[in-house]
């Protein structure tokens, strides 16, 4: 099965990011395909490398990064949602005159068209959120 994943809530505040991660990991381990993970609403906060949870807690951002490295997973942060919430890559920093970036490795910022394309291309879109 070819899945597309949508994450609608921020990490730590809400279980959605953990559930999405665990679902995606389990699906990939079972040999399914994941076309794309799309982060929307506060879900874009999964994509900042500046996240520093306590040492005895899980690091959700790093979990995504490691999963993406292992399976060449496409992690996409919605640009409009990211701009509202201060998730910045080099291109966005330049366009909007920001003095820093915070995008985590393996994540990329792109448009909502990426979500629609994923929904068209996949067999099943799975939405994680409230």
């Amino acid at each position: 099965m070819k899945f597309a994943i949508q994450v609608n809530e921020g990490p730590y505040q809400h279980q959605a990011s953990d559930s999405a991660y665990q679902f995606t990991k389990a699906a990939l381990e079972k040999g399914h395909e994941c076309f794309r993970v799309f982060f929307y609403h506060d879900g874009v906060l999964n994509g900042t490398r500046l996240t520093t949870p306590p040492q005895d807690d899980r690091n959700i951002v790093n979990n995504w990064v490691e999963l993406a490295e292992k399976y060449d997973l496409d992690l996409v942060v919605c640009v409009a949602a990211a701009q509202r919430r201060g998730i910045v890559d080099e291109g966005e920093a330049e366009r909007n005159g920001k003095d820093a970036t915070n995008i985590a490795p393996r994540f990329r910022i792109s448009g909502l068209g990426q979500l629609i394309e994923a929904a068209i291309q996949c067999d099943k879109l799975v939405v994680f959120g409230d």
């Binding site: 609608n8 929307y40 609403h41 068209g113 629609i116 068209i120 879109l125 939405v127």
Partner: protein, 135 residues
């Protein structure tokens, strides 16, 4: 690109208080550009999104409710409203926006694509959808 899919956007929340309704609308507008069969459904507090006469000046938020009236121009063909959710909030179809629709090629017109349906019908519509976006 694959064949046209049935997209259903399930809107469950009040228009203000959280950003879900507004960011859902942004996805709907993009989806239209991909030439998919797009329908919207409004349940629970989501029915408030379609109420006419919204005034947001007191809360400093952008009033995006006029956008719903234009969705017919974005090739949204159906906007379903859950009957029980509407009645539980003391609302009727008369309180909701009217959204006209026109097929540019065939010139077929529909006066209002907003349709009140019961929950059994809504369940059927969700079952028939290829993709359900839940906001």
């Amino acid at each position: 690109m694959s064949d046209k899919k049935q997209f259903m956007f399930l809107n469950r929340r009040a228009p203000y208080g959280t950003i879900y309704a507004w960011e859902s609308l942004e996805v709907v507008l993009i989806a239209a550009a991909f030439e998919q069969a797009v329908s919207l459904a409004f349940i629970d507090d989501g029915v408030y999104q379609l109420v006419t006469g919204q005034d947001t000046t007191g809360i400093g938020m952008k009033n995006f409710s006029p956008t719903y009236k234009t969705l017919g121009d974005y090739e949204v063909r159906h906007m379903y409203v859950d009957k029980d959710s509407l009645e539980a909030r003391g609302l009727s179809v008369d309180d909701l926006v009217v959204v006209p629709w026109e097929d540019w090629e065939t010139e077929e017109t529909v006066d209002n694509i907003v349709e009140v349906v019961d929950s059994a019908k809504l369940a059927e519509l969700l079952e028939e959808s290829d993709v359900v976006f839940s906001f």
